[in-house]
Amino acid sequence: MSWADAIFWLLAATALLAGWRVFRTDSMVRASFFLLASFIAVGAIMLMLGAAYLGFATIFMMAVEMMVMALFMVMFMMNPAGLNPMSMVHQHGLAIVAGLVTFAGLGAFALSVDLPSRPLPAGAEVTAPLGRELLGPSMLVFESAGVTLLATMICAVVLSSRSGRFGPSDAGSVPPSIDPTAQEKS
């Protein structure tokens, strides 16, 4: 077993262990950061595969996303620090069956399919061909995804903006009542 193999197994084990800890920990903030640890391990595996840009971009983006998730956990969840015991699993039976079926399916796929082995020459440029792929043959996929994300963000901002539909939201923006005789001045 070479150094690369050993590091790969270590990273894979980290990803799995961190992923498992996401569901077993009581603290919601820790759950977000365990998920981040899992993503960082996967990003590191991508680095080992030679995808420098993709690996680091995965780590970068996942860090930002998990940070926002942790923030929302603190804001909205009932027990973000895990000071109370917590059980976050619902539908135990169905979850176990679905997990085992998925594992069996993916495992069978991974073991039975002939995955290609095309090692890159050492020192090959990876980022520029990736860029040309993104803006060439795959442009439709990425640009439509990008525009969809932008639309989602704009909608989220509009929904949360201060000027509500019926008046400023921090002055109690409320729709007028359906019954015209029961109208009250707010």
Binding site: F76, N79, L83, N84, P85, M86, S160, S169, D170, G172
Partner: protein
């Protein structure tokens, strides 16, 4: 030369946390500027607790909790009058500076860490863990209860946009370094937005700020000295405000100007005004922050009143001032920006008056005079409204609320909250 040596040598500054009591804020600030001493903002970073000024008995439990928060090896000094509020403290005379005592105590602690001051309170959580509830924490399922002795915050309505977020109730104590000394507030916070304020204790009285003016009520005092003291007070308030908002160079300049004003040198106040803009201090404060509603306007005093546009100043009816052509300075909005501008403008005006009235014979103001925190020596004008902190601070974020409270001088805040000292 000695200062430069102190800065560049490996001499470690003694870190102390100041529990500021009555009439002690300005002398603690002057002490903190000495080389070899560093005043820190949190007791965890300090090795010495300096209890400055008299502490009323109702604040002694808070002082004991504060004492236990310093890490070992720690020591405590009491720099005030009367019996010390904690056992086993090094006492320093109010007229001395405690700098040498502090260095000596620090050296002793470094030599023998076991000489560290013992805990005053038992190290236990305030409530038992075992209680009712499915997990023993006393709550409903995964929510609520008092896990590990701390009540779990539960959701409450939010002021601003109808979301239901956790509402945390906390007491911000009498020795908080970002609040006026002695002010204790019971806050209900959602995030850092204040939902409700209850006044637990008003700020401690600051007789040192008004000492020359209180003296002038009984004895003839040189008017130039009074005006210089007024300028120094206002500049110190500006310096404190700037330091809270991170404009350290500006705060240093304001404190230095205050020291120079005490000695009678009024140079550099023009640039201070311009620097308020250039450093981003004024643009960084929201316009209209900290204005009082029309019902509350009647409780304002002193510079805060004039910042709200009312030209009420006892000096416009007192003899040496009218002779020198005194006219009250006012601002327009009565918000935080206006109050800071008012402090600067009044400091400049006070130094100009001091220069003009330099050779005036000493006068006694038996009928009352305008102190730096409002009129002194006039009989109480009936039941004016008290400042309603809930109306003032509700809906503000933490940083904004701290700025609003720092835009009043502590003695003025105390008077506006209804404490009559004389």
């Amino acid at each position: 030369m000695a200062m430069r040596h102190g800065q560049w040598s490996s001499h470690r500054p003694v870190r102390f946390f100041a529990a500021v009591g009555e009439s002690a804020q300005s002398r603690v600030e002057r002490l903190a500027l000495r080389t070899g001493l560093q005043r820190v903002a949190t007791p965890r970073a300090a090795s010495l607790l300096l209890i400055a000024g008299g502490i009323p008995e109702q604040s002694w439990p808070a002082l004991r909790r504060l004492h236990d928060q310093l890490p070992h090896p720690r020591g405590a000094l009491y720099w005030g009058e009367g019996p010390p509020p904690l056992p086993d403290v090094v006492e320093v005379e109010p007229s001395d500076t405690p700098a040498t005592a502090m260095r000596r105590l620090q050296a002793e602690l470094e030599r023998d860490p076991r000489a560290s001051s013992q805990d005053l309170l038992p190290n236990e959580p305030p409530a038992p863990w075992q209680g009712k509830g499915p997990h023993g924490q006393g709550g409903e399922g995964m929510m609520g209860g008092t896990p590990y002795g701390r009540p779990m915050t539960m959701r409450g309505d939010e002021l601003r946009d109808g979301l239901r977020l956790d509402a945390h109730e906390v007491t911000v104590g009498p020795f908080a370094p970002m609040l006026p000394p002695g002010l204790a507030l019971g806050l209900r916070l959602q995030g850092d937005v204040i939902q409700q304020v209850a006044l637990i204790q008003p700020p401690f009285r600051d007789a040192a700020a008004e000492a020359p003016f209180a003296e002038a009520l009984d004895r003839p005092v040189a008017v130039a000295d009074l005006e210089r003291a007024r300028a120094a007070h206002h500049l110190r308030c500006v310096g404190r405000f700037c330091a809270l908002r991170g404009a350290l160079a500006l705060a240093a300049r304001a404190h230095a100007s205050a020291e120079r004003a005490r000695a009678g040198n009024g140079a550099g106040l023009g640039t201070l005004g311009r620097l308020l803009w250039l450093s981003g201090l004024r643009p960084g404060i929201a316009p209209g922050l900290g204005t009082l509603g029309p019902a509350q306007q009647g409780c304002l005093l002193g510079p805060a009143l004039r910042a709200a546009g009312r030209p009420d100043d006892l000096r416009s009816r007192r003899d040496p001032y009218t002779g020198a052509g005194f006219a009250p300075v006012t601002q327009r909005n009565g918000d935080v920006r206006a109050r800071i501008d008012q402090w600067l403008a009044e400091a400049r005006q006070a130094l100009a008056l001091a220069a003009r009235l330099e050779h005036q014979p000493p006068v006694a103001f038996a009928a009352g005079l305008e102190g730096p925190a409002g009129p002194l020596g006039t009989p109480a004008t009936g039941d004016g409204p008290r400042l309603d902190l809930d109306a003032l601070l509700r809906g503000l974020e933490w940083g904004e609320a701290v700025s609003v409270l720092a835009s009043f001088s502590p003695q003025a805040l105390r008077r506006m909250l209804g404490e009559a000292d004389r």
